[in-house]
Symmetry: none
Subunit: 423 residues, 2 copies
């Protein structure tokens, strides 16, 4: 690179399996995250089939867009692994067999007491003038090359092999070449309002070109605000990000439930553990999903002890002492039954809190008065029983997930976690 | 298209989150699979940031490579959603507000009793001369346009919205335009053996270039064998696929549990419903996951009535009558306790079957005698209690999922579903 700085990267994902729907490309996101962390901007990801022409065209395209091209896939030993050939073609050189690489491939098989199949010999070939990247996790070495001031890397497509090679060889090679400013990223996780509502609340913070920039993404009801601060030095960028976080938190208040990758169940769980409190659940329409979310968190046995899935009316009355005449009078999906379920669960489990959920997840079972998506959520505690009515949208799995999340959020707000160290 | 046939497609994934490592692009694989099923070859996937220029360049690139361009993402209501603008720019037209689309967006909010934020108005704008694709799952309509004989589609990036729009509007639009040979795809779902074991059993069926071709993919323990038969006519391809399916089923026997997208819980549920039987569950380490899987299936209330999550020892003895001295003597993770949990659950629920799971999901809690991953699964029925010991691998979530799936598979084999119409 002659001492020049690099800024932009393009990712090339090579493999037929990426284009016929058989494989989701998880490599691209992993590489993108790693490159971004060293301040390289990924400007594009291109996925192409195992064809020499297609790979060469993609290399030309990517080197036109970026300073660095990071490719994965097509380095295996079979006939449809053509990345080596395409790199050689793009570089205008021949493939050369490296005896030292061949020895390593052979050694890989020796260690497993298997004779090296003849077809694996191709894995010891790399384009003339290019360097090999050692593969500590498999047989196929990677390739590092240069053309017209652009840096090219090829790595295996097997995620474990790729990740190791990227982290130990490619990123260390690129880091010192990256120019410019420090980037600090912080994430705030929000629940309880829609994307447009939050965008409205935070006003122009999301405007393009602003620094810090705030990006907003939604996933299953959880809104992630990502603050990206850019400055000449890291300290300055940290400070900018911190100030932005402070002002967003001020505006959003309790809509912010956590940071980074925290889930609602994790935050509620840490809160319960911190306060030395316990919770039980009684689920009808969510059918175990709420308990599953709570117990997804390692160590949840500190605060979670009992759960009931009372899917039938009989289960509600036998297991949670919901009066049968109450179910008859108001229906299983009612404020009254939700409250009785929560009370029954807390009484039987002897916990500080109990959450109950009853509703109509669909697709069937809705009526005009009680449509699909209608859910009652009740939280019982020493200070009483709070029950709320919700109508959630879309399909069965969305209704169930939103109901479970909302119930966790209700408990979170009840716990009053302000000032806790972990949020 | 003037009656001409189409062959090639390119997929455009739009969104900053795809280029900074935050989001894995699952949409591209879904779309690729669906397009392949109608005999369209996906020649490339391009991921670009939320920038008008980048999107326009990608549209030019993709229309140069393919007859159809299917784009996702960037149709939300916020300032960084720029796909509409880029489509208009590429088509050389203005964005036009459609009052009927606006009414639909408003109605979406009305149904939720929320006032439509002003920024959502942009979602009713589409490029002049383009058609809107109705979004039944969200607010943002899609776009369908033509340029220079090429077909362009834009869909929302939210997977549920995209999938519905693709399957109900885009694929039906494209299917009649596709040329060439008939491709018939069938899928067999297997559980109970690893990928290499299955590959060994079916021998050369997976060889490249073979017709029908058999592809094998693994996801969370479930192995999918995909049979792809190609022939000049659909009837012939159907026949080839059917024969291949027959011979694979013969080889694999009860390892095959279903077809297409069927899950274990669905197959077991249909079996129970068909036989008029019921099931209850008692979960410790899976913490509600098994019940969640069972109740993911619409209509599961026909056969699922009660579930207990007995996370603490106290819950196991109080709720399921597991003797406290048994827990003391053998430990909560033991064959004895698993059996007692299953018996207690079946007795209290009055069901035909009860499944119990107790184990160590980790990461903590393992010992030399009882390592992380150790799980006992018990199924109780009129004919007795069968308990088996398993050691599952990897992390907490894998152990939990594998335990829940394995318990469903054990019940499936017990039910003897041979000859049932739906399998």
């Amino acid at each position: 690179m002659g001492g020049e700085h690099i800024k932009k990267a393009s990712i090339l994902s090579i493999g037929n399996e990426l284009l016929n729907g058989r494989t989701v490309d998880t490599n691209a996101a992993y590489i993108a995250g790693r490159l971004r962390a060293i301040n390289l901007t990924v400007v594009s990801v291109h996925s192409v089939p195992d064809e020499v022409d297609a790979i060469e065209r993609a290399l030309a395209l990517a080197t036109g867009e970026a300073d660095v091209v990071v490719a994965t896939g097509g380095l295996g030993p079979t006939d449809d692994d053509l990345t080596r050939q395409a790199f050689a073609g793009f570089l205008g050189v021949e493939l050369v067999l490296h005896p030292d690489l061949l020895a390593k491939v052979k050694e890989f098989f020796d260690r497993r007491r298997i004779e090296m199949p003849a077809r694996n010999e191709i894995q010891a070939c790399i384009p003339q003038g290019a360097a090999a990247l050692e593969n500590e996790m498999g047989t196929a070495p990677g390739i590092q090359a240069k053309k017209g001031g652009k840096l090219l890397f090829a790595m295996p497509g097997v995620p474990a092999e790729m990740r190791h090679m990227l982290d130990t060889l490619v990123v260390p090679e690129l880091r010192p070449l990256v120019t410019g400013q420090a980037i600090v990223v912080r994430r705030l996780k929000c629940f309880g309002a829609g994307e447009s509502k939050i965008a409205e609340l935070i006003g122009d913070a999301m405007q393009r070109g602003r620094n810090p920039l705030v990006n907003c993404t939604v996933q299953t009801g959880v809104i992630t605000l990502e603050i990206v601060a850019t400055a000449p030095g890291r300290t300055e960028a940290e400070k900018m990000a911190e100030q932005e976080e402070g002002s967003l938190r001020k505006i959003l208040g309790t809509l912010v439930y956590g940071t980074d990758d925290q889930g609602l169940a994790e935050v509620v769980g840490e809160g319960l553990a911190w306060m030395g409190r316990t919770v039980a659940v009684a689920e009808s329409c969510t059918g175990g999903l709420l308990a599953k979310l709570i117990t997804d968190v390692p160590g949840s046995s500190r605060y979670f002890t009992h759960g009931w899935i009372t899917y039938s009316n009989d289960a509600k009355s036998c297991e949670l002492d919901v009066p049968t005449d109450m179910i008859e009078k108001y229906g299983a999906v009612s404020e009254q039954v939700a409250g009785a379920m929560a009370q029954g669960a807390r009484r039987k489990a002897g916990t500080d809190y109990a959450i109950a959920i009853t509703g109509i997840a669909g697709p069937g079972g809705g009526t005009e008065q009680k449509p699909v998506g209608l859910v009652y959520i009740s939280v019982d505690s020493r200070s009483g029983t709070d029950t709320s009515r919700h109508v959630f949208s879309f399909d069965r799995s969305s209704v169930r997930l939103r109901a479970a999340q909302t119930s966790l959020n209700i408990l979170r707000l009840k716990l009053d976690l302000t000032g806790q160290p972990h949020i």
